[in-house]
Structure formats: structure tokens, C-alpha cells
């Protein structure tokens, strides 16, 4: 699930962040509200980093699937550098400037490490010559990255790319009860502002900040998720029949306190 970030998306993100702040601010004490704002900022930056890296893969998809080329030149380092460039271009913030000792810095670092690990671990497959489609697509890349991130940030944070249940392809991405509830009652609501994230403090064994960042189908998504519904995409999975702008995925981030 890739998503290009343009000025509009950036504006939307800002609005979303503001909305989350307002929402949380209304419910909790000012100190808690500040903490939530910080959590939201961390979550958004993690989501952005993941998206940026995924966009790199999306942009490189044709190269990855080119059977004629051996080494695609997409090592972990290369991809990370490109992702950081994307991040910077989108947010105007250099992620490397964030204090690595800070919580945000540590989590972003874990995510960067995960990106590098996934790319490096899959060099053999990506560079296989003579094979066209290799199944290494943005969604798979993102899942592998968040799995790696989960190991790296164990006990601190989790990133999960989920979706409305009928769009979930891998059962590992199935929304849990809270996520399903948020998707159906908030994000899928007709009057839900486009791009606005939903976050809340939840108590599930231990208190955690959870945020659901919606992602919408762009034209590039529809080659696999568009119409006609039921037609096989290049991975051999039936297309969902989605249209550009439909809610296609949700980046669910949990920050444990």
C-alpha cells in the first residue's frame, strides 16, 4: 500500500494532527494532552517513514520486476537514503536531525533498521535474474518491515498495516477488535474528514496510545486493488474493486506507555 505524499496530503496530515490534539485535549488533562500530542507526533513520523520507504519500493517496482536486470541496486542503504529523502521532502523535516536518544529518535531508528534489514535480507530474491514478478511488492515490504520493527521495538511500539476487514489480504493484517471498531465507526463514516487520523489512549493490560492513520487508494494502487472486481492481479489475488480515494488501508500504531 503506497501513498504519494503531496502538499495536499501534508496539509491533511497537519489538519489531522490538529484534530487529534483537539480531540484528546477535550478528554484528558493538559499534561496528558501534551503527552498525547507528543505520541501523535511520534506515530505520525513513524507512519511517514514507513510510507516513504514503501513509496521507494513502489517507485522501483518496474525495476524489481524486470527479469533482464540482475542487481537492482536496491540495497538496504540505498532504499533507506531514498526513503529519508522522501520523508524530508514531504514533511520538511530531516529525520536524521531528531535526537536518537529521544523516544521518537529511538523508534525512528528501529524503523530505519527494519527497512535496511528487510532490503538486505531479500537481496537474493530482488536481484534474481530471469524472474519477472517476484512477489516483492510495497505491501509485502511494509509487512516485513513492521514485523522487523516489532522485534526491534518490542514492548515499546508496534506498527501494523491493516484495513477494513473485507480488504485484508493477509490474515496477519486483520484488524483487532479496537481497530475494526475505529474503522467501521470512524474512518469509514461518510462524513469522516479525508485523511484525518483517529487516536485514543487505551488500556489493554497496559496503557497505550493508539492511532489509526487512514490511507486512500491512489491510481497506482488500483492496478491490484481496482476494477474489475474479482479479476486476478499480478500476485494472483482477486482485485477488490476499489476506486481512487476509497479507504484502502490504515496504519495502526501503538505506543506503549
Amino acid at each position: 500500500m503506497n501513498r504519494r505524499k503531496g502538499p495536499i496530503a501534508a496539509a491533511a496530515l497537519a489538519v489531522a494532527m490538529l484534530a487529534v490534539s483537539v480531540l484528546i485535549g477535550g478528554l484528558v488533562a493538559p499534561s496528558a494532552a501534551a503527552a498525547a500530542e507528543a505520541d501523535a507526533a511520534i506515530a505520525q513520523s513513524l507512519a511517514q517513514m514507513l510510507r516513504s520507504a514503501r513509496t521507494v519500493i513502489s517507485d522501483s517496482q518496474a525495476r524489481i520486476d524486470d527479469a533482464a536486470i540482475g542487481d537492482k541496486g536496491l540495497s538496504g542503504g540505498v532504499v533507506l537514503d531514498l526513503a529519508i529523502q522522501k520523508y524530508r521532502a514531504t514533511t520538511g523535516v530531516d529525520p536524521m536531525s531528531i535526537d536518537p536518544k529521544s523516544r521518537q529518535g529511538k523508534l525512528l531508528g528501529a524503523l530505519r533498521g527494519a527497512i535496511v534489514e528487510v532490503m538486505d535480507d531479500n537481496q537474493t530474491e530482488i536481484n534474481a535474474k530471469g524472474t519477472g514478478f517476484k512477489g516483492f511488492i510495497p505491501a509485502v515490504f511494509a509487512r516485513l518491515v513492521v514485523e522487523s520493527f516489532a522485534r526491534r521495538a518490542k514492548g515499546e511500539a508496534e506498527i501494523k498495516v491493516t484495513a477494513p476487514i473485507d480488504l485484508v489480504r493477509n490474515r496477519k493484517a486483520r484488524p483487532d477488535a479496537w481497530e475494526a471498531e475505529v474503522i467501521s465507526t470512524k474512518l469509514l463514516r461518510a462524513d469522516w474528514p479525508k485523511g484525518q487520523a483517529f487516536s485514543a489512549m487505551v488500556e489493554d493490560g497496559r496503557p497505550a496510545f493508539r492511532i489509526m492513520v487512514p490511507e486512500y487508494y491512489a491510481e497506482s494502487c488500483l492496478s491490484c486493488h481496482g476494477t474489475p472486481k474479482g479479476e486476478m492481479d499480478k500476485t494472483g489475488y482477486p482485485k477488490e474493486g476499489g476506486k481512487a480515494g476509497d479507504l484502502g488501508a490504515v496504519i495502526s500504531i501503538t505506543l506503549y506507555h
Partner: protein, 536 residues
């Protein structure tokens, strides 16, 4: 079959054929219905077997998608697995009606499998591969049992369906054979019935046509088929009536011809009678002379004998003897002339008496004399007609009979007839019989019964056949050859005795033994007797 009308026969034939057709159709319909039911049952079993196969296939898919899910984690596989299980459950639902216990076992195994497989997938989803492998192994155990159960159900049902189908095929073959047999039997029975009915019509019809042709050709003796109750029978009856009418017409024609011949004969006889009367009259005068002169000559000869006696006595013995002898001979001759003259006179008188006829005045008459006279006339008549005739009438007269009032000429005719018939019959038997000791006899007896007089005339002739008895007194009926009898004798006799004299005339006879006529004449004349034709 001729007891039934042709219409009834044809209706029965059609009905029988229709019945056979209906029975055959009924049997085939019934058999077809059975076959259809059996085929439906076989098809049903096959459908159930298919259902079981489908369940097995669905289970195969379920296993595949579960395994695929464990590896791929794709919700698509999960959906496919769920769909396969849904199909399988549906199949099992339908199968449960046929194999409830086995389906219950399948369901139980399926539940076990699904539980372990689900847990295994969850374990794989949670990256617990070892646990997943273990759970999947347990699921596999149940899946193997389940597969065997389904496989057994499929083969059992398929075998049952095959057996049912084989039975249907076998029963259809049997039904076909039976249908052929029924058809053959129906054709044969129909042909036989048709043949019989046509035969029952055509044979009498042909006979009838033959009889018609025969009648048209004039053969009245032709056989007419027996009159059955059917239409041909009715035709035969009418044809029979037609033949009877034809016969009667022929008989009437024959009788008319005979009557005509007899009338001619009677006319001849009447002329002869007149001639006879004339001749008799003419003969009577010379005969009187003969008789008178014979008598006179006898007297004269006596006178001559007395006058010449002295002279003769003087003659020699030889001469006298010669003269005496001559005179004796003359005397004897003259007596014979007188005797025979008287006899001739009697005959002439009788002839005149008979030929005159028509006399209807009653006179007091000695019946014995009348019978004797008639006997004499008849006898001489018979002698005159037949030189070989020889018979001695046997008389048994009751001499004590008082005279009786009757019309003598008529009653004489009666007896002349009866005696003539008796002579004829006895003489005829005498000619025909091979018995050399046979002697024709005619016995005439008279009895005085007080209020009436009985005369029996019995001959030992040929007798009268029973079939002719009631025709005896019919005018113109005769058994004699044409020309010999007029067929009027007994008819006239009957009229005279019964109508004219109020008496009775009856006959008793046995063929080739005797015939006896009994005439009874009352002294007091009663009213006219019964009409002609009655006979007792």
C-alpha cells in the same frame, strides 16, 4: 355364437380387442410407472452419491485451502476454506437424510478437524510454527478418517445406485419380453377371434346364399341353414317361410293339375256312366226277352215232355234214353240261360241304379242286402278291370238287423268305394308280397248297435301310411297312379256318411297288415255332422 346378433358379435369382438389393448396399455403404463419410479430411485441414489462425492471434493478443497492458509496467510484462502466448508455442510445436510448415522460421524470428525486446523492456522499466523505443525498433524488424523468415511459413503451409494440401475435395466428387459409376449398373444387372440367371428358370419351367409341360389334355381329341397337368433338366422327363417310358401304353391299347383286331370277323368266316367245306363237300358229289353223266352221254353219243354211221354215210352230203351237225355240237357240249358239271364238282369239293374245316382229319397232298406249288392257290384267291377283279380269276400252279416232309413244309392256308392279300395289294396299287397301263402281277404261285417248300425270293411292289404291318414278324406287325395283313382271316392263317402246321414266313418290301419273302415249310420238322422277334414 349364432345365438348372438352379428352386431353383438362385432361389438364383442371390438370390445375384446379394445380390452386386450387397454390391458396391454395398462400393463405397460404400470410397468413404465414402476420403471420410472425405479429409475428415479436409482437416479436419486446416484444424486445422493454425487452429493457424497461433492462433500468429499468440498472437504478436499477445505483441506487444501486450510493448508494454503497456513502457508500463505491469505484471507482469500480463508474465504475459500469457509466456502468449501459451507458447501460441504450443505452436502452433508442433504446427505443426512439418507445416511444420518454416518453423516453424524463425518460431522463429528469434521468438527475435530476444523478445530485443530483452525488452531494450527492461528498458530502459524502468530508465528508459532512448531505448535502449528503439531496441530496440523492432529487435524490431518481427523481428515484421513473423514476422507475414509466419505469415500465409503460414496462407494456404498454408488454401488447401491448401480445395483438399482441394473435392476431397472433387468426389469425393463423383462417388461419388454412380457410386452412382446402380450402383444403376440393379443395378435393371435385377435386374429383367432376375428377369424371365429367372420367364420360365424360367412359360413351361414354362404349357406344362405347357396340356399337362395337353390331356391331361385327351383330346388325347393335345398338345405336352409338353421335359424339362429342373429340377422342371418332371421334371413334363414324368412327364406324358410319363402320355401314353405313355394312348396305350398307347388303342391297346390300339383293338386290343381291332379284335380284338373281327375275332373277330366270324372267327366269321362260320367259320360261312361251315361253310356253304361243307355247300354244297360238297351240290353235290358233283349235280356227280358231272353229271360222270358227261356222261362217259357222251360215250360214248353215240360209240356213237350208230358205230351210225348207215351210215344217215347214206346220207343226202344236206347232211343228213349237218348231223348230223355237230350230233353234233360235242353231243360238244364234253359235253366242256365234263365239263371244267367237273371244274373245279367241284376247286374244291369245295379248298373242302372248306380249310374242313375242322384237319388236322395230315404228308404227303409235292409242293410245286409244293400251291402251284398254293393259287394257284388264292386267285385264284378274289379274283375272287369283286372283279369287276374281273385278274391273271396268274407261276409259276417248280422241277420237280426232291422231295416234302416237311408238313401240307398248314396250308401251303395260309399260301400262300392270302400270295397273297391279294399280289393285294390289287398290285391296290390298280393302282387308285392314275397309270401307265397298270402291270400287277399276282404271281410265285411254288419252289426246292429241299437240306435245305429255299424258296418266294418277290413282288408289285409298294404295299409295306409300314418302320414296319409289325415289326408284320406281330402278331395283329390289319392295314392293310386293317375287314371286309376280320382281321389274323390273317400271324400264323397265322407260327405255321404257324415254330412248326409249324420254318421261317422273312421279308419284304423297298420302298414302291410290291414286297413279297417268303420261306418256307423244312425237310425234317427241327426243334424249335419262335422265339417269335412276332421278325422278320428
Amino acid at each position: 355364437m349364432t345365438q348372438l346378433t352379428i352386431r353383438t358379435r362385432l361389438i364383442m369382438l371390438s370390445s375384446a380387442l379394445l380390452l386386450v389393448l387397454a390391458a396391454t396399455t395398462g400393463y405397460l403404463t404400470h410397468t413404465l410407472a414402476d420403471e420410472a419410479a425405479a429409475t428415479a430411485k436409482a437416479a436419486d441414489l446416484l444424486a445422493v452419491a454425487d452429493q457424497a462425492s461433492s462433500a468429499r471434493i468440498a472437504f478436499g478443497e477445505l483441506r487444501y485451502w486450510n493448508t494454503d492458509l497456513a502457508v500463505s496467510q491469505l484471507t482469500l484462502s480463508e474465504q475459500k476454506a469457509a466456502a468449501a466448508r459451507g458447501r460441504m455442510e450443505g452436502d452433508l445436510d442433504r446427505l443426512a437424510g439418507h445416511k444420518p448415522e454416518r453423516v453424524a460421524r463425518v460431522r463429528s470428525e469434521l468438527a475435530e478437524y476444523a478445530q485443530f486446523a483452525g488452531k494450527a492456522v492461528d498458530a502459524y499466523t502468530n508465528d508459532q510454527r512448531v505448535i502449528g505443525n503439531s496441530l496440523l498433524a492432529q487435524a490431518r488424523q481427523h481428515s484421513l478418517i473423514l476422507d475414509e468415511l466419505l469415500s465409503a459413503i460414496v462407494s456404498d451409494l454408488t454401488a447401491a445406485a448401480t445395483a438399482a440401475r441394473d435392476q431397472v435395466v433387468s426389469e425393463a428387459a423383462t417388461a419388454t419380453r412380457i410386452a412382446y409376449a402380450i402383444f403376440l398373444a393379443a395378435v393371435l387372440a385377435g386374429a383367432l377371434l376375428t377369424f371365429l367371428v367372420l367364420r360365424s358370419i360367412s359360413i351361414p351367409l354362404r349357406a344362405l346364399v347357396a340356399a337362395m341360389n337353390g331356391l331361385v334355381a327351383g330346388r325347393v329341397a335345398v338345405d336352409i341353414p338353421p335359424a339362429g337368433r342373429d340377422e342371418i338366422g332371421a334371413m334363414a327363417r324368412i327364406l324358410g317361410l319363402f320355401r314353405d310358401t313355394l312348396n305350398e304353391l307347388r303342391e297346390t299347383l300339383a293338386r290343381l293339375k291332379a284335380a284338373q286331370a281327375n275332373l277330366v277323368h270324372a267327366e269321362k266316367m260320367a259320360s261312361l256312366g251315361q253310356l253304361t245306363a243307355g247300354i244297360a237300358h238297351e240290353i235290358k229289353n233283349p235280356l227280358n226277352f231272353v229271360n222270358n223266352f227261356a222261362d217259357l221254353s222251360v215250360e214248353l219243354l215240360g209240356e213237350v215232355k208230358a205230351a210225348t211221354a207215351p210215344a217215347i215210352a214206346t220207343l226202344g230203351d236206347d232211343t228213349r234214353a237218348e231223348i230223355d237225355e237230350t230233353i234233360g240237357m235242353l231243360s238244364s240249358n234253359l235253366e242256365k240261360i234263365a239263371e244267367h239271364g237273371r244274373r245279367a238282369d241284376g247286374i244291369v239293374k245295379s248298373m242302372l241304379l248306380h249310374s242313375r245316382g242322384g237319388g236322395s229319397e230315404r228308404q227303409s232298406v235292409n242293410i245286409n242286402s244293400l251291402v251284398e249288392e254293393a259287394l257284388s257290384l264292386a267285385y264284378h267291377g274289379a274283375r272287369a278291370m283286372n283279369q287276374d283279380f281273385n278274391m273271396t269276400p268274407d261276409r259276417d252279416f248280422d241277420d237280426t238287423i232291422e231295416p234302416i232309413d237311408l238313401v240307398p244309392q248314396e250308401i251303395t256308392r260309399v260301400f262300392i268305394n270302400l270295397f273297391g279300395n279294399g280289393f285294390y289294396a289287398a290285391n296290390k299287397r298280393g302282387r308285392q308280397t314275397a309270401d307265397p301263402t298270402f291270400r287277399p281277404v276282404l271281410r265285411v261285417s254288419t252289426r246292429d248297435l241299437g240306435r245305429e248300425v255299424e258296418i266294418r270293411v277290413r282288408d289285409n292289404g298294404t295299409g295306409i301310411a300314418p302320414e296319409f291318414r289325415d289326408k284320406l278324406f281330402t278331395p283329390f287325395f289319392t295314392t293310386k297312379p293317375t287314371g286309376e283313382g280320382t281321389g274323390l271316392g273317400l271324400s264323397i263317402s265322407y260327405d255321404i256318411v257324415v254330412q248326409q246321414h249324420g254318421g261317422t266313418i273312421t279308419v284304423d290301419s297298420r302298414v302291410d297288415e290291414f286297413t279297417e273302415f268303420t261306418v256307423r249310420l244312425p237310425r234317427a238322422v241327426a243334424a249335419a255332422g262335422p265339417a269335412r277334414g276332421s278325422n278320428d
